[in-house]
Symmetry: C2
Amino acid sequence: MTTTWVEGAAGSLFDIDNLPYGVFSRPGEEPRVGVRIGDHVLDLAPVAELGDPASELAAAWRTPSLNAFMAMGGEWWRTARGWIVEVLGDEVHRARTQPHLVPLADVSLHLPVEVADYVDFYASEYHASNVGRIFRPGQEPLLPNWKHLPVGYHGRAGTVVGSGTPVVRPQGQRKAPTEEVPSFGPSRRLDIEAELGFVVGSGSELGSPVAHDAFPDHVFGVVGLNDWSARDIQAWEYVPLGPFLGKSFATSVSHWVTPLQALGAAWTELPGQDPTPLPYLGPGEAKGLDIDVEVVLNGEVVSRPPYRTMYWSPAQMLAHMTVNGASLRTGDLYASGTISGTEPDQRGSFLELSWGGKEPFGAEHWEGGRTFLEDGDEVVLRYTAPGTGGGRIALGEVVGRIEPAR
Amino acid sequence: MTTTWVEGAAGSLFDIDNLPYGVFSRPGEEPRVGVRIGDHVLDLAPVAELGDPASELAAAWRTPSLNAFMAMGGEWWRTARGWIVEVLGDEVHRARTQPHLVPLADVSLHLPVEVADYVDFYASEYHASNVGRIFRPGQEPLLPNWKHLPVGYHGRAGTVVGSGTPVVRPQGQRKAPTEEVPSFGPSRRLDIEAELGFVVGSGSELGSPVAHDAFPDHVFGVVGLNDWSARDIQAWEYVPLGPFLGKSFATSVSHWVTPLQALGAAWTELPGQDPTPLPYLGPGEAKGLDIDVEVVLNGEVVSRPPYRTMYWSPAQMLAHMTVNGASLRTGDLYASGTISGTEPDQRGSFLELSWGGKEPFGAEHWEGGRTFLEDGDEVVLRYTAPGTGGGRIALGEVVGRIEPAR
């Protein structure tokens, strides 16, 4: 593995085999694209302007989102990464590059992607089964379509926000099963959903499905994602057209987009699919990702969902989303749905951790335990994966603090 | 009422009390904003550059969508319309304006809005009841939430296309109730949904609901809209998260956006709401729109849905969509859902017109009648409303022809 001359980076979770992209600014400067190495951001555009690589990259990196760079396509993504590894790996580039390494502590980080369409899937068998058991006790937990297709729906792209953006408790209509009529007020069952997001870099034509094996040509990278959910609003509104206001108030994503190239060592076998999916979903060839997730509530780890337990693969979700001819655009974001494993301490939502609010969790940290989110709560989602250098890499974390309803 | 010097416009459906905005181009030229009068498009930017009004308008009108103009806000929308009425109404402006009137026959029309988020409601009681009766015979046709809130969901913004764009028959998973397992192939139940779309011109802040009476500050105008639907794909996929691929392959909108100012005479009382909605939905103050719709299949009118029969008002849909704090962006589009009246010949979908495919319609035009869309079919949606000048105005029509699956 290449080593880096950047001090403090070697052996860290942001070593030279990671190199996630983000959008940063220093006070008084315009946001632009950078890459993270250790505890620094490399300001890409001025380094690119010093000579190689092509000036197209420098122009794309001077913009306030990753979209222009992503739209250049897969060959440019590979060219760019090769050049960055060269610049940060070879001492010969150190003198001219070091002035453009900015300490993380000196920058603001921004939403990295201008989101086009946002789709949320429901790809964890254990999450979907838990939710089925909680909401429809005594019935078959998975609905008949669940193992035939990756169930998904469109969310609100305009309320995808960067990590750290405060989340205002939503208001809306709620009706408990015991109530006669709905009432209006702040959500009483505000929740998280720990997910992984996939960022589309390269679009496709309307009317032309994207095959499952074209996944690396279209997907640029991954983000951490918290799909905040108001369970009481959702439960009342969602029939028959699905979740709407119970989700659309905020979806938080990490500041860092980890390119697929950094996840080369993270691909793993799926747990297994039975029945065999239809051919357009590429059964047998589909791979999962071995990513560990931590859900941290007010500083305490309350769950460790394992992404490797997901039923549907990222490439299958992409193939399904476009099989009807729907086009992709640069900036499209699709998320996995809540990641939950087989064990109680691997559940990716408070709905599941507290089993519908009936079994408080975390009594070892908080007297009486916890159920749903309270005002002032801070949730951090952390993600790590095997790196191509033999160690581990961190994906971008997702932070959000709950503010009272306005 | 002001009269216009533009020949052929007075007394037409595109008289000076209409003036819808669109985006047009002549061969070899860049698309830009125009306004329709009679059978001409006024090329707005060069006329604005001749002197008044402000140069900001001319700059916004030189762009290939209405978004820049809409983002300027309600005061500018009023200023612009006042100036256009003056220019097209007063002979004194004729000599310098006439060179910028382009015959419609000489231009191409484009998708008028860069769509941010797309939301589709379900606001017709008769449509929702019909669908309930068809899909859940013997049960209560409306679900318990339906009269408490305008049910809606997010659709795919990236596949909103301009009128005239061919619609390729989607492929996907379908499973009839009589089949054991799903099969893959072209949709066998391809349908239309005749709707009205509302275009958001002025955005709002995340965390701040938009009150129902702020509707005219945020909504710029309306479009005709056909929410193409593959009923077999939809029926299999939609539980529990709502429609996805059954809708996301294409949504067609008219080339013309009719500004709210042109609809001043079209507001009417709602049919009535019982129970009284919660206060944030402004019960009692909500108004509907008296717009007549025609559904034309291969040249024959097959239905005349009356928009005035809609249960939920446009302002209520807007208030509901944002009550959880979801922000609006310039270019957001929300649609009414299928418009269906009380009578069989007022239904806005083929699903209803053919009662789930069991009762073919249009036998007076086609031997044996019709159920769902066939390859080569052309559907035109036409809309008219009372104009402020005492006559009627036309909204933009929506045309689509079905191409075979690829």
